[in-house]
Symmetry: C2
């Protein structure tokens, strides 16, 4: 089973990497870009067949290591 | 319109960040993780209503700036 974890900064937290990309895109004449947010995508290959167990494991991984829950949110998708 | 761009290392390219996360997860007793890949997720808010124009613009952004196409692949999703 695969788990796709997306980690991104909470709304309201300054995304300096996104701002830099936005500025660079404007410099390259892409003027129709209004906002840019940059996050991480972590793809985990799990040796697990039980979906509920996988979801609870991955949630714990996010809380413990993958996301800084003070400033970041995360979503988990199992495929 | 929003564009979600996922950028990840091509298969075969060493993902040192993924390896580090994998090792850290194993240290935290998550033994059911077989492989970890870490990529970037870039969310663009576009001032554009034409889907085809948006797709061609975002493809050009990926080729020019967002992805290093020598070692990275990307996917684009319009929502």
């Amino acid at each position: 089973m695969k788990a796709i974890v997306n980690v991104f900064l909470k709304a309201g937290v300054l995304d300096s990497q996104g701002k830099a990309v936005h500025h660079a895109l404007n410099s390259l004449q892409f003027s129709n870009v209004e906002d840019v947010r940059v996050g991480k995508q972590i793809i985990l290959k799990l040796n697990e067949t039980d979906k509920e167990k996988a979801m609870s494991d991955v949630t714990k991984m996010c809380e413990d290591l993958l996301a800084n829950t003070v400033i970041e949110d995360y979503t988990i998708e199992l495929v």
